[in-house]
């Protein structure tokens, strides 16, 4: 229901406006960080952007955990298919 896009914080958060520059594949926009007042944000952090506001700080560790699992699954599957193909030939 809601388009949320990950973007990288590339500047500091301005005190009065809560705005900070966020980069999405080379495209930059000033995004309001006010909803992440509880998070300690610094340049290089990734946030989820929706209608000009950052809704959540993205956790690289959590992303990596899921990705490792999924890609591990993918690798195991590919190996298995390869093994199957080889056994077909022999």
């Amino acid at each position: 229901m809601c388009l949320g896009i990950p973007g990288e914080l590339v500047g500091d958060v301005e005190e009065h406006t809560d705005l900070a520059m966020v980069d999405v594949s080379g495209v930059r926009r000033r995004i309001n960080m006010g909803l992440l007042a509880d998070d300690q944000l610094k340049p290089g952090d990734w946030v989820l952007v929706h209608v000009g506001f950052a809704l959540s700080k993205i956790s690289e560790a959590e992303a990596k955990a899921v990705m490792d699992m999924l890609h591990g699954l993918g690798q195991a599957y590919t190996d298995e298919i390869d093994a199957l193909k080889e056994s077909d030939i022999s």
Binding site: E62, L70, H71
Partner: protein
């Protein structure tokens, strides 16, 4: 890591698809609802159904805030927009949504000053730059979007901008899910939960579903692998006889949600006693209105609004589609009288509506296409 492409890997998708197929019990059929229109969009845009076995059906739920706005509210908004000193501001999504009489695009063509904005803060800027005009923001969206509106109103109050107001149409996800769960003609095996709403409300509000309805509920991200992963987790829960709230999207969704955002909503808005949903009818406590303390920013109080009521068209079977009783193409008017150019029902209105997504992206026979695209 860009948190996007990594979750579009076709090798991992094939592996997940194999595991999903293996987890399906022979002869059993599974019906999962993705609550969120964003998921519906992702499913069709990436062709995710190509990876699912026939035993698994995805039912497209009510989580499209554009689709559920009743036609009368659109007419009310157009009425406000037509006041001579008003600038109506809106997300692009609302521009083509038909009311009883006109869309925003039609009203604009007839002379109303309606401008598209990317953010409610842009609407506030327009108010700041046009002190002699009254600027109204057409606020739509679930809890994901409501905090942005709330923060914008707080900022307007702080800066003393008195020519800015909000036509509040924010809706709440839990009452809608509950209405679906309580409908008698529905049989579901689990839910793919809305990821971005959950960044705000967290995962706790879904616990009643597991507790009272014994249904698995997996909060999921919006990349195609996220959705396959969620289906895999749902099947896993069913296989083990569990019905729990699980968070597949922990990289973005904290279990407790966003405290600051919930407080902003709580300060600026109140829950309405009831609100009409297109296709679903009236649902109690299912939407937000501006709080008394912020009456000065409430377009419903500032303008004399007709409060138009328009019944959903008779031919329309959106209610059944939204509850998953009918597939989009099983509706009598689908694709003939009701198309994205001339939508009759809610599901055809926005690109994330179930019917529009199926019409725009999935309107083909999978067998024929499999033949046609065979390398």
């Amino acid at each position: 890591m860009r948190f996007v492409d990594e979750f579009r890997d076709a090798d991992a998708a094939r592996a997940l698809a194999a595991r999903i197929a293996a987890r399906c019990e022979p002869g059993r059929r599974y019906k999962f609802m993705e609550v969120c229109g964003g998921h519906t969009h992702t499913i069709y845009k990436h062709g995710i159904e190509d990876y699912l076995p026939e035993a698994v059906t995805l039912v497209h739920g009510p989580g499209c805030p554009v689709c559920v706005i009743p036609m009368g509210r659109v007419d009310d908004a157009v009425h406000i927009a037509r006041q001579p000193d008003v600038i109506m501001t809106s997300f692009g999504d609302m521009m083509r949504v038909p009311g009883g009489a006109a869309t925003f695009l039609d009203a604009k063509a007839q002379g109303a000053d309606i401008r598209m904005v990317y953010s409610p803060l842009d609407a506030l800027k327009i108010a700041r730059d046009n002190p002699d005009r009254r600027v109204v923001f057409m606020a739509i969206g679930f809890e994901t979007t409501a905090p942005s509106t709330a923060v914008t109103v707080l900022r307007a109050a702080e800066e003393g901008i008195d020519n800015f107001s909000v036509f509040c149409n924010h809706v709440l996800i839990i009452p809608a899910v509950k209405a679906i769960l309580d409908s008698p003609d529905l049989r579901l095996d689990g839910f793919i939960g809305p990821g971005h709403v959950s960044t705000i409300i967290g995962c706790r509000p879904y616990e009643f579903i597991a507790r009272d309805y014994r249904q698995p509920f997996v909060v999921a991200g919006f990349e195609p692998l996220d959705i396959l992963h969620a289906v895999d987790l749902l099947l896993g829960q069913l296989a083990e006889g569990r019905g729990e709230v699980e968070n597949q999207y922990a990289r973005v969704v904290p279990w407790e949600g966003n405290r600051v955002a919930m407080e902003a909503i709580g300060t600026v808005m109140r829950v309405r006693p009831h609100f009409e949903w297109r296709g679903l009818g009236f649902i109690s406590h299912s939407a937000l209105e501006m709080a008394e303390e912020y009456a000065a920013f409430d377009a419903e109080r500032i303008f004399d609004i007709p409060g138009t009521r328009i019944a959903d068209p008779m031919a329309c079977q959106c209610g059944e589609v939204l509850k998953g009783v009918l597939k989009p193409w099983e509706c009598k008017v689908f694709g003939t009288a009701c198309t994205p150019e001339t939508p009759i029902g809610t599901c055809m209105v926005s690109s994330e509506g179930a019917c529009a997504a199926y019409y725009n992206f999935g309107r083909f026979s999978r067998e024929r296409v499999r033949e046609a695209t065979r390398a």
